[in-house]
């Protein structure tokens, strides 16, 4: 027995509301990120992630209030990402109650941000999100701006680099699989997980419980992140954990 593999439900939040609806039957407010986070906590989620996809900058601070409210009620780690561009942004989120902050586009545009942020707040608080797309068999390139812009960076080289710069964890999303419900890109997940010494969270493509289990047992991921299968109440986090445990994966139940 030892460290459990983590299951992390992710919520897309814009202007303070969860974007994708949820089918939780008994939620008073299905769009309230705090209420949903609390529900996931009750189901046994190991962490919760908020991805702030607010487009307009004047609504950016709304996420801080959501994080504050969440931290007051949910006593598991909370990761927040989306639009983080500076050490000041990182600090604001941490001060509001986030435990980790994920940086994506800004990390590619300014890799020093990773080093600077992790030196200031500790690498345990810094997650670098990598969006990768297959370019040829066994090779993936890093995309930014929500998957719209190809940076030309090799995903494995970038993953090693962000570790060197001080990232504490990598949130790895396959742009090929994201939204497909066809399962993680397991070759990508495994390649990145084996390339670095820091934990890797697999993301993008989960449609079944088997996909979650595969992310760990085939992809070597330390944690698996999913949105829609939990949002639409296809499965609870607890069901996912029971499924994984039956397949010999160590989980917290």
């Amino acid at each position: 027995m030892g460290l459990a593999k983590r299951i992390i439900p992710c919520l897309d939040v814009t202007a303070g509301r969860v974007v994708k609806g949820t089918n939780f039957v008994d939620l008073r407010d299905a769009g309230d990120p705090v209420e949903i986070a609390r529900r996931y906590d009750e189901q046994g989620a190991d962490e919760v992630a908020f991805l702030d996809i607010t487009a307009s900058s004047d609504q950016r601070d709304i996420i801080l209030h959501i994080v504050e409210a969440c931290a007051a009620q949910v006593f598991i780690p909370l990761t927040v990402g989306g639009g983080v561009r500076s050490v000041a942004d990182v600090r604001r989120l941490l001060n509001a109650g986030a435990d980790k902050v994920s940086i994506n586009t800004a990390a590619v545009e300014n890799p020093d941000l990773i080093a600077e942020a992790s030196a200031k707040v500790g690498n345990q608080c810094i997650v670098v999100a990598i969006d990768a797309k297959q370019s040829s068999p066994g090779a993936w390139q890093v995309f930014t701006h929500g998957g719209r812009r190809n940076t030309g960076l090799d995903a494995l080289i970038w993953a090693r680099r962000v570790q060197q710069l001080g990232a504490g964890e990598i949130l790895l999303t396959s742009m090929d699989r994201d939204g497909t419900r066809n399962g993680f890109d397991l070759a990508l997940t495994r390649a990145v997980s084996d390339a670095v010494d820091i934990p890797v969270i697999a993301s993008g493509g989960v449609g079944t419980l088997q996909h979650l289990a595969d992310g760990v047992s085939v992809g070597n991921a330390d944690a698996v992140l999913a949105a829609s299968i939990f949002h639409f109440a296809d499965y609870t986090v607890r069901q996912a954990k029971e499924f994984m445990r039956e397949r010999g994966i160590e989980v917290r139940l």
């Binding site: 027995m1 030892g2 460290l3 459990a4 593999k5 983590r6 906590d41 190991d46 504050e68 931290a71 007051a72 006593f75 598991i76 780690p77 941490l94 001060n95 509001a96 109650g97 435990d99 707040v121 500790g122 690498n123 345990q124 608080c125 504490g168 964890e169 670095v196 010494d197 820091i198 934990p199 070597n220 330390d222 944690a223 917290r252």
Partner: protein
């Protein structure tokens, strides 16, 4: 309910990161008792019980503790008040840390060590990653008021690359397996300290904090 109250529960703020979650978690179990976050040594001295959290790197934590004049107040609290150290707040109780080769408060003989690379493989031969991040089991090695109601082997949330290694096994209150069997909680007299984060450990974490809040060592 007793109305006798001899001061607040104080979370010591020495400028190393966000203490909101520690404060929130304590408030949620404090049953109306006052919980303060303070960087003022006199407030720490007025406390009935003291919590020293900590994140980041131990050298920075020790430096900030000195700079902010909190070292003496923390040492005093550790001598005679119910005292809870969390993460770096536990590590700083030792004499020395390999992280930055820095001296600690020296209340516990022994050092703080980094997970040794050569032992970082699991039973299936897979490499274990550092930082040790996530939920792992804590095996209770001594009877403690703070373990009350918490199952032996319960999982708590960890995030760290260094661990405490007390010379005197009498300090060891809990151990956890991650490549090596390391000390994840220490206790003696009025001191209890954990490597894991009770404030992020859902129900078992809150249960431990609730035990601390009414602990009479």
């Amino acid at each position: 309910m007793s109305t006798v109250s001899s001061g607040p529960i104080v979370v010591v703020d020495y400028g190393m990161g966000n203490l909101r979650s520690v404060w929130q978690a304590l408030v949620s179990v404090a049953d109306g008792r006052q919980v303060l976050v303070s960087h003022d040594p006199s407030v720490v001295r007025s406390a009935e019980r003291v919590v020293v959290p900590g994140q980041g790197a131990m050298p920075d934590c020790m430096r900030e503790l000195e700079t902010r004049d909190l070292r003496t107040a923390v040492l005093e609290a550790a001598r005679n008040k119910p005292f809870l150290g969390i993460c770096i707040g536990q590590q700083m109780l030792l004499e020395h840390s390999e992280e930055g080769d820095v001296a600690g408060l020296g209340l516990i003989a022994g050092g703080v060590r980094r997970f040794p690379d050569e032992h970082m493989v699991d039973s299936a031969g897979r490499r274990l990653k550092v930082p040790h991040m996530g939920w792992n089991q804590v095996w209770q090695r001594s009877r403690q008021a703070l373990w009350q109601g918490i199952a032996d082997g319960e999982r708590f949330y960890f995030v760290h690359s260094y661990y405490v290694d007390p010379l005197d096994a009498g300090w060891v209150a809990g151990t956890t397996d991650y490549g090596i069997d390391f000390t994840s909680a220490v206790a003696r007299d009025n001191i209890f300290a954990t490597q894991f984060h009770p404030e992020k450990s859902a129900r078992p974490g809150l249960a431990m904090l609730a035990n601390f809040v009414c602990w009479k060592p």
